[in-house]
Structure formats: C-alpha cells, structure tokens
Symmetry: D2
Subunit: 326 residues, 4 copies
C-alpha cells in the first residue's frame, strides 16, 4: 500500500474572479470554507495556505481549528505579494515603500510557517516582470529580485523559501520565468535555504519537459517542493492533473522516484466551473493510478532503451504500464 502523501493549494477550494466574470465564478468563500471543502477530498493530507487568510480576519488559531477538524496539516504558506499594492511588482517594485511592504508581508508569512510547523514560505512573485519593450531596465529588475529573496532567506535561516517560477501571467513576462533562470538566481543568492517549487504546468507552459526540469533542480539540490495540474502548453490553465498530458505526468513522477525524491504530491488546480472536491478526487485518483503504473513499469527496460535513446521501446513499456493501471 502506498504511503504517498497528497496535498493541495487551499485556493483550489476557493472561487475565482477574472477580468470578465468580475462578479466571480461562484459565491465568495472564506479560507475556513475552503479548508472544510479540502477536508472532504478523499486522500488529502496537507494544504498550502494563502496569507493573509482570505475572506475575513481570521487568527492562526481559528485556521488551526478548521485544519484540525478537516484532518489537514500545513505544508507551506504563500504570502499574497501579487495583489493591488504589488501591481507593478513586489521585490522589483520601483517604489521602495512597496519593496519594504513585500519584505514585511513575507516576514509575517514566515511567522505563520513557524506557527504551523510548515515546510516552507512559498514565493510566487507574479507581478515581478514587465509588459512592454523598454518598460524596465532589465539588469536592475533582476538584481532587485535576487536582493529581495536573498534578504529574506538570510534573515530567516531556520526556514526554507521556495520560488515558484512561471513564464508569465499576470505580467506579460515574469522575472522568475523558468527552471534555469530560477536556478541561476538561486546560485547567485548562494544560500542553502532557497529552492524551487516546481509546478508541472508552469514547466509545460514554458516549453520545458517537466521531467527534465525536475532532474535539473534535483541535480542542484534545489527541488524543495512540487505541484501538478495540466494545460494546453500555451497558458497556465491550471486544469485537472492527468486530463491532457498523462504521459509527461508519468515521466515526471518516474523521474522523482528514480531520484528517491520523497515529498508531497500537490495539486495546483483552478476549477473555475467544476466542483472543487470532485476535481481534486479525479486528479488524485489518477495520481494513484500512476503510482500503480510506476510499481508495474519495467524500469530496467526503460533504462536500457534510454541508453540507446530508443523512444519506441521506452514508450511501449510506458503504455503497457500506464494504460493498464486505472
């Protein structure tokens, strides 16, 4: 029997707005509502929480009580450094006051990580970047990104900070845009407690092979976390994992297992129009099928085929395992 733990970003259980449906894709929910829904997913053990807690002025204790009732632990805290105040950037904002605000909000989030005994502060600086040619001085922008993260990691050596890169959105170009750029930055920062949260869909969106991205981050000792979803490679659709790219998802998990990477398998899905519990259950049931397929896979055969770059042989073994394991 599998001991694999599953997790989800708590926003999976929120409702959403976008620039068209400004009244939202459903009634607003508080973080307590969302935790309650998360608790209804069959196999969920941990959640990543936005901070500040959304939907009301809730204390750590109130959130903790909801989590206890839902039998959920906290894996990470995601400070919301991408809301209105940060529209022109968090770490890279041209206004030093906003850069200070970023520092303070992340520092507060670090406190919440300690409170819940979570694994990391998750940094997703989605507003750091640019929209237009000639809008920014690129050297200055990148330096500000590294200075901002570096200061926090340096001040909080007891905690891990994970950077979740993405090619773009909401900015037309995001500073931490790829696994390689993020690793370059992390190496430049030079601290042991900064790593990557690898989002499977962001890697696909960026033209990466998620398995290759995972291997690279592991080889640098920087794969601190991961989450999965799916998309059509042209946008961060945050669709249900396994519904478009099951084979590359399988290769991603294959790579983690080959490297004995043993963290939580998390979901980062945005079920705009779906029942959020059903969407999580569908994803996790598919992840469990991939676990069974990994157990069944002729790994020695795959390794031998890869030694000759023989895709046909490798893929036949993969199909034999994956398409018989649901």
């Amino acid at each position: 029997m599998s001991n694999q733990r599953y997790g989800a970003g708590i926003w999976h259980f929120a409702t959403y707005v976008d620039r068209y449906a400004t009244d939202g894709y459903g009634e607003p929910r508080t973080i307590l509502d969302a935790i309650d829904l998360a608790g209804q997913v069959r196999d969920l053990s941990v959640v990543d929480l936005n901070y500040p807690f959304f939907g009301g002025d809730f204390s750590n204790e109130q959130v903790g009580a909801a989590l206890a009732k839902a039998e959920l632990d906290v894996i990470g805290i995601t400070p919301e450094i991408y809301t209105r105040a940060f529209a022109k950037g968090s770490f890279t904002n041209p206004d030093p006051g906003v850069r200070r605000l970023t520092h303070e909000l992340v520092t507060a989030a670090a406190g919440v990580v300690r409170h819940f005994g979570a694994d990391y502060v998750k940094l997703w600086p989605g507003q750091d970047g640019w929209d237009y040619p000639f809008q920014v001085d690129h050297g200055t922008l990148w330096k500000a990104s590294l200075d901002g993260v570096g200061a926090l990691a340096s001040e909080n050596p007891d905690l891990k900070f994970v950077i979740e890169y993405k090619p773009r959105e909401p900015r037309v170009h995001m500073s931490f845009d790829s696994v390689s750029r993020t690793l370059l930055g992390i190496e430049r920062i030079g601290l042991p407690n900064v790593g990557i949260l690898l989002d499977f869909g962001h890697a696909l969106f960026g033209g990466e092979s998620p398995a290759d991205s995972a291997q690279l981050a592991i080889d640098y000792g920087r794969l601190f976390g991961m989450d999965v979803n799916d998309n059509l490679r042209g946008w961060d659709d945050d669709m249900i994992a396994g519904t478009v790219h099951p084979i590359e998802l399988f290769e991603f998990f294959y790579t983690l297992r080959r490297n004995n990477w043993e963290g939580v398998w998390q979901l980062d899905q945005f079920p705009f129009r779906e029942d959020s519990v059903a969407a999580a259950d569908l994803a996790i049931d598919f992840l469990k099928a991939t676990e069974r397929a990994l157990d069944k896979l002729d790994v020695a055969g795959v390794v031998e085929a890869q030694s000759r770059h023989d895709s046909v042989t490798a893929l036949r073994l993969v199909q034999q395992a994956l398409f018989t394991s649901y």
Copy 2:
C-alpha cells in the same frame, strides 16, 4: 487633414481584476467615471458601452448626459453575457433558463442601441466553448451558438449584430474562435444583419494575419466593425496598439483603405498598470502616424511587388513610409 474617427471600448477606462489581484488594479470606477476619462483623450469620437452599465444603477439618460459632456457618441453596446450567471455559457449554456436570460439581456441591449442611435449590438460570447476534452457534444454546442445569434438577428432586423471572435479566454476554447469559423456560422445563419467585429489582437493571437482576416470578412460583406491593440501572439494581452506589431498593424489599415472600408478605428486595450488616458493617446498618435504613412506609401509599387510575391521590395517601400511618419 484626416477625417478618420477614433473610438474605444469604454472598459479601456475602467479598472480591472484578475484571478490574482482580486482586489483590482485600482479603485473601482463607474461607467460615468470611465466616460469622463474617455473625454480627456485628445481624439476620441465614439465609445462602445458595456451593458448593464457598470458601477451603479444608471439610466440611459444619465449615461447620455455624461457622453454629451465628454463629446462622445455611442458606436455599439456590448451586453455582458460573460459574467457569473453565464460561467458555463450564454448561447450554449446547458441550462435553457440561462439561454433565455442571454436572449433577454441581448434584447435589452438592442433597446439601448436604439436609444443611443448606435451602430450595432456587439456579441462577445466569451464563455461559450469548452475547457476539457469530452466536456461537450461539439455539434450541439455549435448549433446552439448559431440558433442563439440567429434568433436575435431575426427578431431585430432593424439592427446590426456583430460577433467578436477570439481563440480562447476565459474558456480554454471559445466557440467563435476565428474569422473563418465565424463567417461559416454567419453564412449558415443566413441573415444580412449579422457581421464580424474584427479585433486585430484576436486575429494575431489566433495565428491569422489580421490583414488577411479583414480581406476575407470584407469579401463576404461582413466586416461591420474593428478594433486594435497588440499582444505577443500567444495571448490576448490587449496591449497598446503599435507597441509590438507596427508593420502588421500598418498592413491591416492598408487593407482597409484598399477596400475603401471607412468605419471607425477603435481601441480595445486593457491598460492594467498604465494611465488609461495616456495609453489611449499613445495609441491614437501612432494610428495617426500610420495614416500619414498610408498617404505617403507608394501603393502602385506595393501592388506591383505583390503581383510577384516580392516581399523584399514591398517591405522596403513600407519601411520608407512607416519609419518616417511619426
């Protein structure tokens, strides 16, 4: 001196939310605020208004007074058939009650068109489509799109209805996804008062050449309106016109002039982080430069080069005109 009239969607002067900055990229504005800002743009003559009017319960008369003060006319009305009630579709919603609601809202918008003496009802059914493989029966969905538009056009023969196609967003795939699909649908509907509102950026995003799309719609007698903006071809970024693709923008206007198409040149921009008046002024100043470049262009030379598919000669003539006209 140019007699070209310029217009803009009134949402150009609103503020926006997205799934991350849920508190918005600025203080909310009412449609009256937006009209006031639109009036500050140097060369704006007409606007396209969302309906219901946003930000308050305003009467046609209140809106009309604001327009008069800003010296703006109305070119079209855009019923908001893409908000929460329509999350799973407007014309194609699986719930017949929502399809009726769509019909009623568009019918009300038709009344507003008559009130303001505008040119058309603009249909942008952005929630009509699908997200996942196997989510919908494709034949049923497309038929519902055509039935819905056809019924409205048939009941309101005194008005024009324009369909604004787009490849995707907010759905992962939108039913009216391209110029050709939309023309196919319009021909099937078979009514004279249904046409296309061609968005330059949507054509680019869809892998079309906007000039070719315009020519095709004109050849079917269906180019009822247009608007411009810019993007990186991978998403509907709604950036300021002329900032990324000035040459294809120039070819688009060249095609309109060659066909003696004489409508309004409109803006459909979303200046999330920019001053909206300055963003409109920058775009219109560039459009005026393209007008001057069109006057200066050696059209006979371009036509001759095109008769041989000689891109080098044609582009040299284009560069000589466009890069000397600001």
Copy 3:
C-alpha cells in the same frame, strides 16, 4: 473482433532531409523500398502514395507489383505540388506557367488514382501562402486557391479531391490553414467531390480540438479522410500517434464512431530517427487499444455528462475505459 482498416502515408517509410541534415536522416529509399517496409507493419491495409513516385522512374505496374507483394491497397495519391518548382506556390503561384504545371501534375495524379482504384486525390498545397506582411494581395491569393481546386474538381467529377489543411510550414502561413477556412472555401467552390482530409496533428497545431473539427466537417458532409500522429501543439512534429495526446486522440475516434464515420484510420508520421516499422506498429497497437476502450466506454454516461457540460464525470468514465485497455 475489429474490422477497422489501418493505413499510412508511404512517406512514413521514406527517409527525410531538413535544412540542417541536408545529407538526410538515412540512406535514400525508393518508393518500392518504402512499400516493402510498409508491408512489414503488422496491421496495415492501405497506403497513400506520393506522385511522381520517388527514388526512380517507376511505372504504375512496378508500383502495383510491389503493393501486391506487400498486400497493400492504395487509398489516395498525393501529387507533389510543394517541391522546388512550386516554391512560391502551386495554385497561387504568381507565375501562370507554374499554375498550369500544378494543374497538369494533379491531373496526372488523378489518372493514377483511377489506375489503382484509389479513393481520392489528396491536395496539400503547402507552398500556397505567404511569409511576410505585405508580401501578397490576400484576396487574389485566396481566389487563386479556390479557382485552382475548383477547376480540377470540375474536370474530374468521377473522383474525390481532399484538401489537407495545416496552419503553416513550409510557408510561414498556409492558405488552407484550418478546418473552418477550408470548409468556407469548399462551400464557395460548391462541388460535391471536394472534401477534407483531416490531420489530427494539424488540428492540434492550429489550436483546434480535433474532435470538434471532425464534427464540423462531418456536419458539412465533407470529412472524406483522416490521419493521425502527435505533436506538442506548437509545430507539425508528426510524432507517433498516442505518445503525447492520448485523451484527445480518444475523443477524436469517439466522435467518428458517434457519427458512424467508417473510413480508414491512417498514420501521417515522420519517424526521423526511429525505425519506421516499429513506429507504425507502436501507433497501431495504441489505436487498437483505443478501439477496445471505445467498446468498453460507458457512452450513455458520457452523453449524459456532456448534456450538463460536466467534464469531471465525463473524464472519469474516459479514464476508466482508456487506462485499462492496452
């Protein structure tokens, strides 16, 4: 037991050149060599032949003998209207002499169709289109496309002509770029013997859902043929079918079956670096798995879920069938 017939373009068994490996990805093969290899694929019944026959000056009889030995029939003939003489277009070439040459070559191909009792002449006018803004007059170009195809279909009413559309390559933009554009053109031509050869990968590459494209072509009575392969949606990679998008491939076949479309399932793969027989066997074995999955699928359940646009329920049924059928 399945009666499904399988086919392949004979170029699947050729070797290839590209702009870098100008000496080719293997020793050149004649069409006779390729037919011999095609005969080694376990479940292949028919092939589509390039014309002129490549690799030598072979007669219909020589080719027929090779086909007989390989136990293969001919489904279609593909005239090579995309080689050097046609670099600036076949039907749309600015030189009327080249347009005549196109007509003559396709007419000759029609004779070969009759000789072999094949189903159709396949038109893939891959050089018809443009590369640069301002290169062509778009109205003239499109008219030439339709005039060229229309003349051939009119002169050969006993034969079917199928157009295989693709967004681009080798031109930066191809005239017959999408299912909708091609249907628009076919309707304008107005002859019963012109239809579509739908390539699954071209639809994916063009941002279409192949299942939706198939439904649309069927609804117009124009789906005359199809072939499959796979890609990463950003280029016509012609990879082995089922290796990237198995779920959308399954939806494509589901749509064909729901419409009682009973043609050949063909492969259009370019195994640049793979053993071509093994690549075909891998694809066909996967197609057979999808056939079994179609037999097993709870179609009534899918239909019911689709009536509510319920992707989660539909996809669970799909996963239960597809991921247990290899």
Copy 4:
C-alpha cells in the same frame, strides 16, 4: 558616421532544402558561390563559415582567396555537428564513437579558426536533445553536453567557444534551449573561454525578451557574439531582421549600446524564396536606421521612465526616434 561592422552567416547565401522541397529552393551553391554573393551586399565586413566547407572539397586557401576577392573577413567557424552522422546527437549521442567524431570535427574547426584569425568556434548542437517523453535520461544527457563542450574549451584555451542556444528544431527539444540554461551550463563548465552567441530570433522564439537575454549574458561576462533575424515567436523562421519586431530589435541594440558592447551586428537569415543579397541589404539598411534612431533617442528620458516602469513614456520616446529614422 557609423563604424559599426556588419556580418552574416555564410549560409544566408546558400540555397536550402526542407522535408518537402527535397530538391531544394534553388540550384545548389558552393561556399565559394556564397562568398561571392556575400561580397555583393553593400555593407558586409565579416562572415561565419560552416565547416566542412559546403559544395566541394575546398582548401582553406581557396576559401581565403574567395574571401579576399569579396573583401570579407571571418568572424567564426561553425562545425556542422548536425548532419546525418549526428542525427541522434553530437555531444550527447548515445554512441561514444559519434561523440568522438564530434570532438574531432570541432577540433578541426578550431584549426580553421586559427588559420583565418577568426574570433570563435561556434557550437550549435541542434541535434542534442530529445523528441519524446521517456526517450532519454535527462541527467545523463545534460552532463554529456557539458562534458563535451568543456573538453574542447579546455584543450583549446587560446580560442573562444560560443554556444548558440535555441528552444528546438530539428529536435523537438534542444538541450541548450535558453539563455539561462546555457549560462547555468557555462558556469558549471567553469572556463573563461566559453560564452554565448545570442540569436535574437531564438530568444524571441523561446519566450525571452532579447534585450533581457543580452543583459543577463553581459552581466555574466558571457556575451561573446550575436546575430539577428525575425520570426513570429512560434518558430525559428529566420526571416529578415526588422520585418516583424522592429521595436524589440531596437531595444536589443539599445541594451548593447548601454552596456558598451561593441561587437559585430550579424545576420542569421534563411531567405528561402528571396534574393539573398537583396534580403541582406534590406536588413542592414534597417539596422542602420536603428543606429540613427539610437543616436537620436532621448536616452535620459528613457532611463527616467524606466526608473518608474513607465512604459507609455518610454515607448513614446522610442517611437519618436525609431519611426523618424529610416
């Protein structure tokens, strides 16, 4: 008067084949023919030569004589490590014999660099990568890339080696896929004589901003060379520079000048269907216009606007300079 030197890859003046026009887009040319054509371009000073010399068995002396006659110097030598022998990779080939062959061919190219007093050996390992999920062991592949380049740089400390990255083509994914990945690799190799040849179009194709890529490479001291062209961001179209993205091209040169980067401005264009001399002249004339625009640009104004991330102000200054300078 400008002292800027211009260059081109000699393949700009060759003819091409692709997988469709296997008979080529024109009569084959030898490298001597190509040098003669290059000499006809108005403002060309240097060329990058493929090695082995194409089209015949030419000696360094024969090539040198042709160069002298055309008044051209050599900037770099590009060993052809992407032809048939290298179809499954050069540095990363699973066959150690092919890896040795790669080493030998690049070593021979290094000799040619010395012979002509050129600046660098250019490495474009276009066949190093993968096509399918599960085809390769990603860690092994990347290590082989770095080992291969590192050995050559170590053995030839008197020469510079430049890596030209590209997202893909001919492989579905290329190992050196981005500026960041390449810098990560170069830092890991740890030798001073390995740098980047930044291709403007490859950066665009990879979703990068070329100006940002240049700044990053400069900040690491690794921008050893560059070339320009244009494309539609979805493929390496190698179109004529300035015909699609003039503003981002201008930002790229602005960034080079701001950093006092003073190398050659090279062309990497593939004029499949164009006159190659005219295509080079059109590009260089546009580059000269951008030089004049750089001289005219209100740099202080741009810098001030960038300090506020004010795209509208910056772009107005840019338009004023660029669209008045042809």
